[in-house]
Subunit: 149 residues, 2 copies
């Protein structure tokens, strides 16, 4: 995969990660090429899944929401895919990541500021996951740097 | 803050979190309003910092990069802001989050697939942080759901 992606592709990804709303024209000017070529490359990157998503990152604190990360360690032999399927449709579960290392599963939750409600959500998730060995619960209070590439 | 933000603002944030490249016209059509009104609201949301960033989310695996999350627990009395300042300019440190709970500091790293290099980066970060009590190192292997609002 990586060898289908050249240096110009990498520059396009970098620029879009800094500002996903850049127009084809702005990208073309910066990279001294044409809008058509930019559009073609972006289509390719989207099709290959190299660019997963264009998104707006809200400031959850300012919106009155709480952002928390659950770092979950599963017991040996747990079926992580089955667990992910159960979590997939819980509305406030926004990001699900398979992992190795300290945690096998990382779950990001965005929920209204309401500790009672958050407790219910954590309980719901705990129940949905058989074989939890350990769960680290971390409440994000401020993001001081945010880049994606 | 939250009361300056109305239901239409919330809808705009939701739509942009699903696709940050939507045009003013597309947003206006979906929300049955005008491009001018959408543009004015987006300006307001950006100015208030309610929208932090428009970004492209790459698939790091497909690009040949490793994505890891360090969950750091500091000893009582550590100066977290001083630590963040030291981490801010390390190139592969992409996201820095202040937190409470299991971890006081969450650091997201994007680095080329090269375990020797990653070890060096982790060592560099460990040295930059006085008063680490515990560090959880989690390598993200796959993201199965990704939403930001």
């Amino acid at each position: 995969m990586a060898n289908k992606i050249d240096e110009i592709d990498m520059k396009i990804i970098k620029l879009l990660s800094q500002n996903a709303r850049m127009t084809y024209k702005e990208l073309a000017d910066k990279l001294k090429t044409t809008r058509q070529r930019i559009s073609r490359r972006m289509n390719k990157l989207e099709k290959l899944g190299v660019i997963q998503k264009y998104t707006a990152i809200p400031n959850y604190e300012k919106l009155g929401y709480t952002y928390l990360i659950l770092g979950i360690t599963l017991r040996a032999g747990s079926d992580v895919d089955e667990i992910i399927e159960k979590l997939q449709n819980i509305e406030c579960v926004k990001i699900i990541q398979k992992a190795i290392g300290s945690h096998n599963l990382v779950v990001h939750i965005i929920a209204p500021h309401d500790m009672k409600r958050i407790q219910d959500i954590i309980n719901e998730i705990s129940k949905a996951i058989p074989g939890i060995d350990h769960m680290d619960i971390t409440f994000i209070t401020e993001t001081t740097k945010i880049e994606f590439f």
